[in-house]
Symmetry: none
Subunit: 336 residues, 2 copies
């Protein structure tokens, strides 16, 4: 499988990186053949025992708030990263949970009691992702890094960021696979096929669609000439308005979820350089919905209506991890 | 207690409510004796089956991100609130988790595989808190209000929001007490006394200053004629630049915390109508740092430099809770 598809799959896992800063990286040619049989190459292999021999090397990051952990280790002498995350507690599981779990009293104080509740396995799943074979880049990507806020002028973008993006050869072939229905076609919930203003809308890979609490969808535009916010001008207003209106309608129709409860935004920098828009539940603190990275679609449209070249000229702030190559470029240019 | 003290107290507690902490409330005398036997009063009662007869009435709130749920129901005809939360995944449990869990393959794509992992009960505890008997105050405290995103035009502000603010008599006497050193004077870490461009800087009440992880300070301006972002024009650029520069310097000096790691922003709507600026750690997902409510100070300055009346004329989005009086006003005006 080529490197672009690997990168595509890597990008889909972005939420598993707590700071939401997911950059896809290319895979070296030699790794294409280094299939970790149990995970990747052999459909008949018994995957249910995949992790029984997992050998932990290091914890890359963990979050007590989000109940997840990212582990670097080995499966059958292959480097691997395993990501474990507890699943949300669903209302429809409560009845069975209360009936069939054991409660162990921990503390009692007047009207307050705390317990350890031990549910049966089928009611208490841990979402598990295995990356195998994992490269050094995977390990680095998941390792928790310090973050810094950069201020990028229009000129910085042209002289530092754009050359950097172009030098990295961030391929978006996996995006084209979705647009051309070569991959994930069954996940698309809406499409406007218009080549100028059209897009596909699909659930973000990390939303399991089992509850609305963490509703998360992505609209990916059909046209291939817009890398990010920086490329947007007033010429794109019809496209942006179309995404907003039809995207909100589709989500209402499919999930009964009204637009007034949505947060619709772009990222800058984006995780991949093909224009896409995030639709998340307003009550969900989605990773990357912070003001330092998100830009409300309604604001973007309004800014372009008032000033056609708004995003070409203004200074934009965004966070970068300590190990990000772009941060080094800004340091070299004495812009940080 | 007047409304602004309520608001101040509400501010102080907002993070705790968002975290779902169980804060004890004053209990009416009669309730002290109304013991829910199985949970509270009888040490010999078999608590392990306490919830087997639990009757769910309503879900008060739940978080897919934090993997918790707050449930209102009944235990033996007594009102109760049950709080369930998945526990963090600990490193020391990994070895046993990998050995003794069943993995069920969900999806495989090249080097990436996702699974449902079902651990044995002893490895997968749910932290459970029972409040029984629960009062109406408990139920209301834990009840999550729906939130809606409003779009307020400049005209909406003048015809709906401003009259509403003025009708509510939101007093900011407590703010003046800080500015005049009648209260919290010992918490001020920096002050510029200039009446036009000056401000005080102090830690936000919810930051205990024990770690930088959740660093949070507030700059409150001395001048009393700016309620919010809506009142700002290019006339205020010197004030805003002064807050930014001197605020960042003061934080660097006091805490060794550099500006590149700060998120500096205003809220719209603000919690109180006297201009103030938030300084939070970039790596801390502070409540209210989402794009729907936060406005980077650097962006505000830039917008005013380009367009003096920017915040008078543009449409601003912000979230409102279902029980917010302002939401009713927008509904009455058919703006929602």
């Amino acid at each position: 499988m080529d490197s672009n598809t690997k990168m595509a799959a890597s990008e889909k896992r972005k939420r598993e990186v707590a700071d939401g800063n997911n950059e896809t990286e290319g895979q070296e040619e030699t790794l294409k053949n280094a299939v970790c049989n149990k995970a990747g190459g052999n459909d008949d292999a018994p995957s249910e025992f995949l992790l029984s021999g997992f050998e932990t090397k290091a914890i890359l990051r963990d979050s007590a708030r989000e109940k997840n952990i990212f582990v670097h280790g080995k499966i059958d002498d292959q480097e691997a990263v395993v990501i474990l995350e507890k699943t949300p507690i669903r209302e429809d599981s409560l009845s069975e949970l209360f009936k069939n779990s054991r409660l162990k009293l921990e503390m009692r104080n007047d009207i307050y009691s705390t317990f350890h509740l031990h549910p049966p396995p089928q009611l208490n799943e841990i979402k598990t992702t295995v990356v195998c074979p994992a490269t050094e880049k995977h390990v680095k990507k998941y390792l928790l890094q310090e973050t810094f806020l950069l201020e990028e002028t229009g000129e910085d973008y042209r002289s530092i960021t754009l050359p950097f993006i172009q030098s990295q050869s961030f391929s978006v072939q996996w995006v084209y696979n979705i647009l051309e229905k070569k991959a994930e076609a069954d996940r698309i919930i809406y499409e406007d096929p218009d080549p100028d203003v059209g897009f596909v809308l699909l659930p973000d890979f990390k939303w399991d669609q089992k509850q609305h609490d963490d509703l998360y969808l992505i609209a990916i535009v059909h046209r291939k000439d817009i890398k990010s916010l920086r490329d947007l001008t007033s010429e794109h207003i019809p496209l942006l308005c179309n995404i907003r209106r039809r995207g909100e309608d589709a989500i209402l129709k499919r999930y009964g979820f009204p637009a007034t409860k949505l947060r619709v935004y772009l990222h800058y920098q984006p995780s991949y350089y093909h224009l896409h828009v995030h639709f998340t539940s307003l009550s969900y603190d989605a990773p990357g919905c912070g003001v330092e990275r998100a830009h409300l679609l309604s604001d973007v449209i309004q800014n372009l209506q008032n000033e056609p070249q708004y995003y070409h000229t203004r200074t934009l702030s965004f966070p970068l991890r300590a190990d990000d190559g772009l941060l080094s470029k800004f340091k070299d240019a004495a812009r940080l």
